[in-house]
């Protein structure tokens, strides 16, 4: 149990560092909401090597902490709505048992942006935000795919060695 607590702390720190690194590399696309989603790497890794419950809590805690450290309350709201939606979809895609980690991550990236955009429409009360819908979907798929490839290589190499 103690060993697990230490491991989870380590993964939370890792996810937090990913969030921080991401704030240092803004993608110059000029469209709000497009980002790499580096921290999702940790979520996917945990989802495959430890379990859904752990992946979920690390993801939620990471968003809360990074929101307070590098962002603001609004950032937390959007990140959370995106992350919860994305996590649910990733879990469902993984449960099918037919699709690998790259597909799971790609679906996660797409639905993260759908969740975030949905929240933006609710808050702004203006469907004009939907103008960027297709671009955000494409961006989510692309970044999800890249993160999926990275996660896959990590899982193949060290995924089996993470146990308490």
């Amino acid at each position: 149990m103690k060993r697990k607590t230490a491991y989870m702390g380590l993964f939370l720190a890792l996810a937090l560092i990913c969030s921080y690194i991401e704030t240092l590399i803004p993608l110059p696309v000029g469209i709000p909401g497009v980002k790499l989603g580096l921290a999702n790497l940790v979520t996917v890794l945990l989802l495959y090597s430890i379990g859904a419950k752990e992946a979920f809590w690390i993801s939620v805690l990471r968003i809360l902490l990074s929101g307070f450290l590098f962002g603001n309350a609004f950032g937390i709201l959007y990140s959370l709505s995106g992350a919860l939606f994305s996590f649910l979809v990733m879990l469902l895609v993984k449960k099918t048992g037919r699709l690998g980690c790259v597909s799971v991550s790609t679906a996660g990236g797409i639905f993260h942006n759908i969740g975030q955009l949905g929240m933006a429409v609710l808050v702004a009360g203006n469907a004009a935000v939907l103008y960027y819908f297709p671009v955000l979907l494409a961006a989510g798929a692309l970044t999800g795919f890249v993160i999926g490839i990275l996660a896959q290589e990590i899982i193949i190499r060290i995924g089996g060695r993470i146990h308490f």
Partner: protein, 125 residues
């Protein structure tokens, strides 16, 4: 997990790429023409409408904070905001109809309208 990609993955990714390409293609038809004016809304109510043809610096004061929208050379850009993330300021300038700039913390939405959409012209057509 030994095999990197399975057959289902290829199918899934191919379908995803096709769907998104179709969506982008479909939406490209709705890409707006050169806009006539920008409409600024704050928390769902219209704050003001400004023509893109005249250069202007518009100060937007909301309950949540302060923004400055600058219209120059037929393009509108958010040039100042006192929100924490300033995503709206980093966003590129807008000039084509239906393009928007959003400052979510202040609930400010700036959207471009085409010339036809303004007022009576739309009714007359």
């Amino acid at each position: 997990m030994r095999r990197r990609f399975r057959k289902a993955d290829w199918i899934f990714l191919a379908v995803t790429v096709c769907l998104i390409a179709a969506l982008l293609f479909f939406f490209s038809f709705f890409r707006g023409e050169a806009g006539g004016s920008v409409v600024v809304t704050v928390d769902r109510t219209v704050y003001g409408t400004y023509p893109l043809s005249e250069d202007a610096v518009i100060s937007i004061d909301t309950e949540d904070g302060h923004n400055v929208l600058t219209i120059r050379g037929g393009e509108a850009k958010m040039t100042e905001a006192d929100c924490p993330d300033r995503l709206c300021v980093h966003q590129k300038a807008v000039s084509r109809s239906r393009e928007t700039i959003v400052c979510l913390p202040h609930k400010v939405v700036v959207s471009v309208e085409s010339r036809k959409e303004n007022g009576l012209d739309a009714v007359a057509e």
